[in-house]
């Protein structure tokens, strides 16, 4: 039992927390980027521009149906073939953004679909043009409805950052592995620490999501 606690030395904890910083940095940037790109893609799919929307829709479906791990490999190993060179951090952000944007596009599209058709027609007949109706009437309602799935997608994103250990992103899971490889007795403690770290991080986000959901619904 003393082994379990002694593994939580300041040195080890600081090492993990530095990794947590990387996790959070990568996650936050990816969340923001994928929210924007996902929204744009979702709207494109909704407005049905001939051919264009279908092609985008098909690409989204392809990405949604592939493992994220494969997409990470791809951005890291295949993109340089066409002259794009990213570091580990940028590669991870890129891969996460591509994958999560596709996932969010689908969520947002179905959010927009769930807004009653009459709303759009009403707005249009009141003199708003389509863009205005979308921005002022449809999207705010769609987002309000979609808060819970969007938030749980963000929780997934945070968990998914751990997959980037495969390309040596020095985030928290990777660092825990480095610690327990060097200090075999720390292994259970490190898994415990990982569980606690991810749990707290995601729990906070879920709670913020619940709060937003309740306030928006009010």
């Amino acid at each position: 039992m003393s082994e379990f606690f002694s593994a939580f030395s300041w040195v080890n904890l600081r090492f993990l927390i530095t990794g947590l910083g990387v996790t959070v940095q990568v996650a936050v940037i990816s969340v923001i980027l994928s929210f924007i790109i996902g929204s744009v893609l979702g709207v494109i799919r909704y407005v049905k521009i001939p051919y264009f929307s279908q092609i985008i829709g098909f690409i989204i479906d392809l990405i949604r149906n592939l493992p994220l791990l494969l997409i990470i490999f791809f951005t890291y190993f295949a993109l340089p073939k066409v002259g794009i060179h990213f570091g580990v951090v940028t590669s991870t952000i890129f891969a996460l953004t591509i994958f999560e944007s596709a996932m969010l596009a689908e969520i947002i599209r179905s959010g927009i679909m769930a807004v009653p058709k009459g709303q759009l027609e009403g707005a249009l007949s009141n003199g708003l043009n389509f863009k205005q109706a979308l921005w002022h009437i449809i999207l705010p309602q769609a987002y309000k409805k979609m808060i819970p799935p969007i938030v749980s997608q963000f929780v997934s994103l945070i968990k998914d950052t751990s997959l980037a250990t495969i390309i040596m992103l020095p985030e928290v899971t990777y660092r825990a592995q480095i610690v327990y490889a060097q200090e075999p007795n720390a292994i259970v403690s490190m898994f415990f620490a990982l569980a606690v770290i991810y749990f707290i991080l995601n729990f906070i986000i879920s709670k913020i999501g619940d709060m937003l959901d309740r306030r928006m619904a009010a």
Binding site: V11, F15, V28, I32, I36, F77, Q177, A181, Q182, P184
Partner: protein, 282 residues
């Protein structure tokens, strides 16, 4: 209600603009055209030399938990070589695994690899090597309680041998113990932990790496000597004869002026069972 939504959207837009800038500035701007001596020119022009090193291999390249920095024989070699190739160059380290290093070099993410990488004919088809700087050989690491004493005994369907994907050891063990079941993992940290957890009967790779693992764990030992020769070299992109020449000369210098011995003693001098003079190729 409407205005709150717009405030949220606007702040998101602002934050994303920031994120984009941050993301772009983090990008590694390295271009890998097939121009002759491209890497060499880049190192001289940008005064940066980007090395692929290991982060999970004790003694050779390991991330120090206290400082968060990389350290080990390979890491110091990289620094010393850089000094002699371009004295003004800043040394940059990128962590790689056995699986990721070759694609990263070919793709131009890194300028050179110094990461327990043995010179083999297969690899020479895709990258160029410097002269060897370290004479490693493949061996096995087992628990002290293990019934396996050497690679020959592992040649049974009952034996499970751990190795790391992308290393030569995974091909060699299939040759020396064809009946054994080979379990390929992503990195040495995982492979070592897997050995301790009983996921395999032995872990096989170069003795240089294995001694480092044994040094960190009382219950493990290197057994049976080496069964292959695995001289480590610095790997570079093809079409860079100038860089290869400069690195070769740097290695000569390092060996002649006593730097090599000092480093070898520092990292391997105290390791039980390891004859650093033999590994160093003296």
């Amino acid at each position: 209600m409407k205005s709150r939504f717009q405030v949220v959207m606007k702040s998101i837009l602002a934050a994303s603009a920031f994120a984009l800038v941050a993301g772009v500035s983090a990008t590694n701007e390295i271009h890998a055209d097939n121009v002759k001596n491209d890497t060499y020119k880049r190192i001289m022009k940008t005064d940066r030399m980007n090395w692929g090193v290991k982060g999970d291999t004790k003694l050779m390249g390991l991330m120090n938990i206290k400082t968060g920095k990389l350290e080990g024989f390979d890491v110091e070699m990289a620094k010393e070589i850089t000094k002699r190739v371009n004295p003004d160059a800043k040394v940059v380290y990128t962590q790689i695994t056995s699986g990721t290093r070759v694609p990263m070099l070919i793709n131009g993410n890194i300028d050179a690899i110094i990461a327990t990488m043995s010179v083999t004919p297969d690899r020479q088809k895709v990258v160029d090597f410097s002269q060897p700087y370290f004479n490693a050989g493949q061996s096995i690491l087992v628990k002290k309680s293990s019934k396996y004493h050497n690679v020959k005994e592992l040649n049974t369907p009952k034996a499970r041998v751990l190795a790391v994907q992308g290393s030569t050891s995974i091909d060699e063990i299939k040759e020396f113990a064809p009946k054994a079941k080979v379990v390929g993992l992503q990195d040495y940290a995982t492979a070592l932990t897997a050995l301790k957890a009983g996921q395999g009967d032995a872990l096989t790779t170069d003795n240089g790496i294995l001694y480092g693992m044994a040094a960190g764990s009382k219950s493990l030992e290197v057994r049976g000597g080496t069964f292959t020769k695995e001289p480590y070299g610095v790997a570079m992109q093809k079409q860079n004869p100038k860089l290869v020449k400069a690195v070769d000369k740097a290695i000569d210098d390092i060996k002649q002026d006593g730097t090599y011995e000092k480093m070898a003693k520092k990292w391997f001098g105290d390791v039980k069972g390891m004859d650093w003079k033999e590994l160093a190729g003296e």
